[in-house]
Every structure is written in structure tokens, then in C-alpha cells.
Amino acid sequence: MSETAVREVEAGRSVRSLTYGEAVNAALRRCLSELPETLLYGEDVAKPGGVFGVTRGLRRDFGERVFDTPISESAILGSAVGAAMLGRRPIVEIMWVDFSLVAFDQIVNQLANVRYVSRGELAAPVVIRTQQGSAPGACAQHSQSLEAFFLHVPGLRVAMPWTAQDAYDVLVAAVHSDDPVLVIENRTLYTGKQDVMLDGPVQPLGGLRVRREGTDATVVTWGAITARALQAAEALAGRGVSVEVLELPWLNPLPTDEVLASVRRTGRLAVLHEANVTGGFGAEVVARVAGAGVALRRPPLRLGLPDSRVPAAPSLVAGLLPDAERIAAQIEDLTHEN
């Protein structure tokens, strides 16, 4: 970070050129600094600095509040629940979202029930950082996109920041929240510098990003695949089709009103995610639009992994996940009048 240009934009804030991973690190550093009750722990996060280097330097600078754990997801998550009940603010890392499945009990049965069953006598301000998604050569147990599992659980907030700025802002907001929050990152986003404004005010949970304005169709998307939605929209612009791209850094709370407003204007809806289509959270977005009585000019389009396991070989994965051209073709078809 030291070699990056820093320009002060106003007192106490600065814009730095950071990777997504560095932005996460900066958010953790800020939270560890301003919230003494925070703890940061997980597998290999402290002395090794994380398998992706995201937590590098934090053990050195914050001491025993940052520590390594056994490879024990139930113990990591369960201890976070207990520590949070007793006044700590644990930030724990589950190295790959796939690993959360061995400790799903601690998230669904335990963490999400703390506030409700105790009628607010207890809170569980736990942040679970994890990362997911397909990347070349990753095996079937390191490639899944599982956000829908967690979005089925009331009591749990879920975010999937796409930009480095949102990686920073979402994580700061999550750690300051007294609700349990699952922040799902994506390792394919960790590299590549972007301008990130640090030290801004803590933002409320929720909201969406209009990544591209358009008039003919609304694409609702989140996570790394947002880039393909924007590439598709750009390609379609050249063919005279104007696509609005809404990117949702927060899925719970879901910015339903903003989505409805866009779809009311365009009259066409596509949802796009890297997760499987059936039971994917895009289906919920479609249902919200349908349930609100928004008149669609064409049936809604659901784009995602076509209900498949995820293979390891890049050529096989490429055959499953829609690329920008396939996305563009389907959205273009959506915009044709019957």
C-alpha cells in the first residue's frame, strides 16, 4: 500500500488505489482500530495472513485479538456465537463457502436464533467473511455459489460486494451492525487496483448500485458475474438495446422497491447469478416483481448455472456458466416484441 498514491479529498478521508483484497484488509484494520470488542479469527488468518493474503499484517498490528484456529468450522462459528452473546464482536473467516456446510448448524440453528429467542436480550453481532464462486481449476467442492442457502434464513444478513469500494463499505457496515452478517467475497475479485475511499461514514445495511442505466430491460445481478452483465449491456448498446444493470451488494436486506421501480420503467426483467437457477435467489427477485403486480412485457429471464455440479476443467465450466455473449443474446431475445 505504501507506494500507492494518496490524495486527501476531505478531512479524515482518503482515496487509495487498492485491490479488493486490500480494501477488505483496510476495512478490517479500521474495525479492529475503532471497535475494541472486535476479534478476528479463523483458519490461517493471523500469522499466515490468510490463504489469499487478505488479513496480512493484522496479527502484527492488533496482537492476540487476531488469532489462528484449528480447522474446525463448528468451533469457529460456535465460539463466535458464544463470544458475541457475551459482548465481543467476532469477525470470523470461513475460508471457502463450501466449508460452511460442515458447520451449517451454528449459522442456521444457533447464530440466527440468538436475538429472536431471547427477544433481544442477547444479540449476536458476528460477521462471517467467506468467499465463493467458480475459478479455473477449482474442484467441485471449491466452486459453489451458495448465497441462496443463507438467504432462506431469517435473522441473518447477507452481502456479496462486487467492487473494492463496496468490499470496504459493506464490511465496515457489517462489523458495526448488531445483526449477524454473512459477507461473501469472491477470490477472482481479489486482484486489480481500484480507487477506494476509506474512512467514510458507516453506511446503513442495504441499497443497490445502478451500474448502468437503461430503458429496455432490467438486469438484476450480484457478485463477480456483474462484470459479464455489464459487458453484455455494452454489447447490446451497440445493437440499439438499452439495458439497465442493477447490482445488489446486499441481498438481505433486499432493495425490493428500487428493483420494482426499475422494472416498472423497463417492463422486462432478467436475473443473473453464478448460483444454480433452481432455488437461486434470482427466483425470489422474480417472485417479488410478480407479486407486486408489475406488468412485464415478456416473461422474466433467469440466468445462472444451469442446475449442475461444477466441474474442475476450465473448458467444462465454460460450457456451463453463461458468458457475456450468451447473456447478451438472451437479453436481446427478451427485448423482442412477440
Binding site: 470488542e37 476479534l39 485479538r65 488469532f67 484456529t69 484449528p70 474446525s72 468450522e73 463448528s74 468451533a75 469457529i76 462459528l77 460456535g78 465460539s79 463466535a80 456465537v81 458464544g82 463470544a83 458475541a84 452473546m85 457475551l86 459482548g87 465481543r88 467476532p90 460442515v102 458447520a103 448448524d105 451454528q106 440453528n109 444457533q110 436464533n113 436475538r115 429472536y116 429467542v117 431471547s118 427477544r119 433481544g120 436480550e121 442477547l122 444479540a123 431469517p154 435473522g155 444478513r157 451492525s177 448488531d178 445483526d179
Partner: protein
């Protein structure tokens, strides 16, 4: 610390007569509470699956005086005794089991998910073994908040075969956390004998594998429990980390109310009833010359208290569905 044997009343004095009588009164309060719960369940006033700890009260009674204000207790769905040991009012417990607005959780917890943090009772857990890692977290918090907290987590013999318990024990041992792991071994993992589900039924011996002390004790004698759990609390408070205590006991009733208990061995319950806490404590008082009227008085007072508490709960309004979605989020 693992002697391979079992600490019994032979090594504990049993305390003063006053202590023994106080223990008997507490055992009877728990017993009378649960027998009233069973009556309410069979009458249909309480509904759903309810798990009683009748016969196992001495463990909670022995632990009660060891838990300080800063400590935290984590129990299982067979946890009414532990809620009472932490000082939760019986009327608030009846209210919870009866779905009343006055219940300790306003009807959100029920029999199997009671939670009373104001009483250091951080909850029952309906998932076998799930409380153990949560307790480790409570102990972890104490490392940073200066409280000196000890976390006690209690679970059954069946939970010893849960991965979460293994993870919690290793986690607590590796991080040297002040956790007292209490295994209430009633010999039945729900409806299945523990000795058929493990190669070595001496469950406390697993402690050695985690590098922590472990011992088997007589869980039907509050004096033994007080002494041996007290030693574990002392180790934890002195920075010595976790301990596993396997408290041998017997569940004198089914796994849940309505369990036909066809799995019981012939004579098993008769034998267990000869060694249960009410008998252990009553015999000790008689041997010390305490009169039957005093001994009987413990039961009588407990039953009267629980009748009053149950009546109070039954008279309370039902939990209000208008509030059912409150407290999901901040």
C-alpha cells in the same frame, strides 16, 4: 487426574446436614417442577416434545453454587434443571412451556430452547452437542473482557459422539479456555445404549486426548458433584484451561414425555431408583438423625411451590401473535 475409577461419596464428606437438606430441597424443587410439567403435558396444557431430567437433578444442584455472576451456563434440551439451578423463577419456566406471554422467552423458546441471560443461563440447545462450541466462545470472550468468566457446558453421553463437541474440546484445549465440560451420562443416547455406540464407554478418558483433565464422578450425589466440579472450576479460574467431568446418573423417565421406554433392560429402573438423588440425600439425612417430617417437608414445600407457580402461569395470557416477528433483526 484420570484415575480410571469414579469419585464417589466415599471421598466427599457429603457436607453438613444443612447442606444436605438444602440439596434435597433443590432436588425436590426440580423434581416437583418436572412432575408438574409432565402432568400439564399429559393434560394438554403444554404441547410438543418435552424432555425431563428426573433422576439427574443432583448434577445441576451440585453445580449451582459454583457458578458466579460473571460465568455462563449452556445446557441441552434436557435443561429445566439447569435453568432452575441458575435461578430462573419456576413461574417463568412454566409460562414458557405453556406458551404464555409471561414465559421467560415469551413463548419463543419453549421447553427445549429456554434462554435466560440475566440468570447466566445462555440457553438450552435442541441440537445435540451444539452448545459446546458456543460455551467455548463465552470463555473466549472472558479472555478479553477481564471478567474471569468460566463457561460451563452440559450435555449427555450421546453428545460425546457429535463432531461439534470434539471440535469444542480441542478448540478450548488448544486455546486454553476456561470451559467446564460436563457430560451427564445417563447411559442412554436418546433411545440407544451408549455402550453400543462407542468402543470404550469410559467417556471421560477422551479428555486425555485433548490434553485436559477428565474424570468420572457419581452424578447422583450433589456433594460429590460440588467437590469435583468445584475442582474443575478452580482449574479454569486459575488459567489451567478446560476439564471434562463425566457425571454418572440415570434418567428415571423416558427420553421425552410419552416415550414407551421399551428399550429398558429388566430391573434397570428398579436399580436406578435405589441410587437416585432423593434416596441418596434422604438416607444421608436419616443417618444423621434428621426426622422424617423434615425430610418429607422438602418434598411438600416443593410441590406447593410448583403448584402455585403453575397456577400463576396458567392464569397468564397466551403469547401475543401480534409480536411474533419482532426481534428478528436490530
Amino acid at each position: 487426574m484420570d484415575t480410571g475409577g469414579m469419585a464417589t461419596g466415599g471421598t466427599a464428606t457429603g457436607g453438613t446436614d444443612d447442606q444436605v437438606l438444602a440439596d434435597l430441597r433443590e432436588v425436590w424443587r426440580m423434581r416437583a417442577f418436572e412432575e408438574k410439567v409432565r402432568e400439564l403435558r399429559l393434560a394438554g396444557d403444554a404441547v410438543g416434545s418435552i424432555h425431563l431430567g428426573i433422576g439427574q437433578e443432583a448434577i445441576a444442584v451440585g453445580a449451582a453454587g459454583l457458578v458466579r455472576d460473571e460465568d455462563a451456563v449452556f445446557a441441552t434440551y434436557r435443561g429445566h434443571n439447569w435453568a432452575m439451578a441458575c435461578g430462573v423463577a419456576p413461574a417463568a419456566l412454566f409460562g414458557e412451556l405453556l406458551g404464555r406471554a409471561t414465559g421467560i422467552n415469551g413463548g419463543r423458546g419453549g421447553s427445549a430452547h429456554l434462554t435466560a441471560p440475566a440468570h447466566r443461563f445462555f440457553g438450552e440447545n435442541s441440537i445435540v452437542g451444539a452448545g459446546a462450541p458456543i460455551a467455548a466462545g463465552a470463555a473466549l470472550a472472558g479472555r478479553f473482557d477481564g471478567s474471569g468468566r468460566v463457561a460451563l457446558t452440559v450435555f449427555g453421553d450421546g453428545a460425546m459422539n457429535q463432531g461439534a463437541v470434539h471440535e469444542a474440546m480441542n478448540f478450548a484445549a488448544a486455546l486454553n479456555l476456561p470451559v467446564v465440560f460436563v457430560c451427564e451420562n445417563n447411559s442412554w443416547s436418546e433411545l440407544t445404549p451408549i455402550e453400543e455406540m462407542v468402543r470404550d464407554p469410559r467417556l471421560h478418558r477422551r479428555a486425555a486426548a485433548y490434553g485436559m483433565p477428565g474424570e468420572r464422578i457419581d452424578g447422583n450425589d450433589p456433594a460429590v458433584v460440588r467437590e469435583r466440579l468445584g475442582a474443575a472450576f478452580a482449574v479454569a479460574r486459575e488459567g489451567g484451561g478446560p476439564t471434562l467431568v463425566e457425571a454418572m446418573t440415570a434418567r428415571l423417565v423416558g427420553h421425552y414425555i410419552g416415550d414407551a421406554e421399551q428399550y429398558r433392560r429388566p430391573g434397570e429402573l428398579d436399580e436406578a431408583r435405589r441410587r437416585e438423588p432423593v434416596v441418596v440425600l434422604g438416607d444421608r439425612l436419616r443417618a444423621a438423625g434428621v426426622g422424617e417430617d423434615v425430610i418429607d417437608g422438602a418434598e411438600r414445600a416443593a410441590r406447593e411451590e410448583m403448584e402455585r407457580a403453575a397456577a400463576e402461569a396458567l392464569a397468564a395470557p397466551l403469547a401475543d401473535p401480534a409480536n411474533v416477528k419482532e426481534h428478528l433483526y436490530v
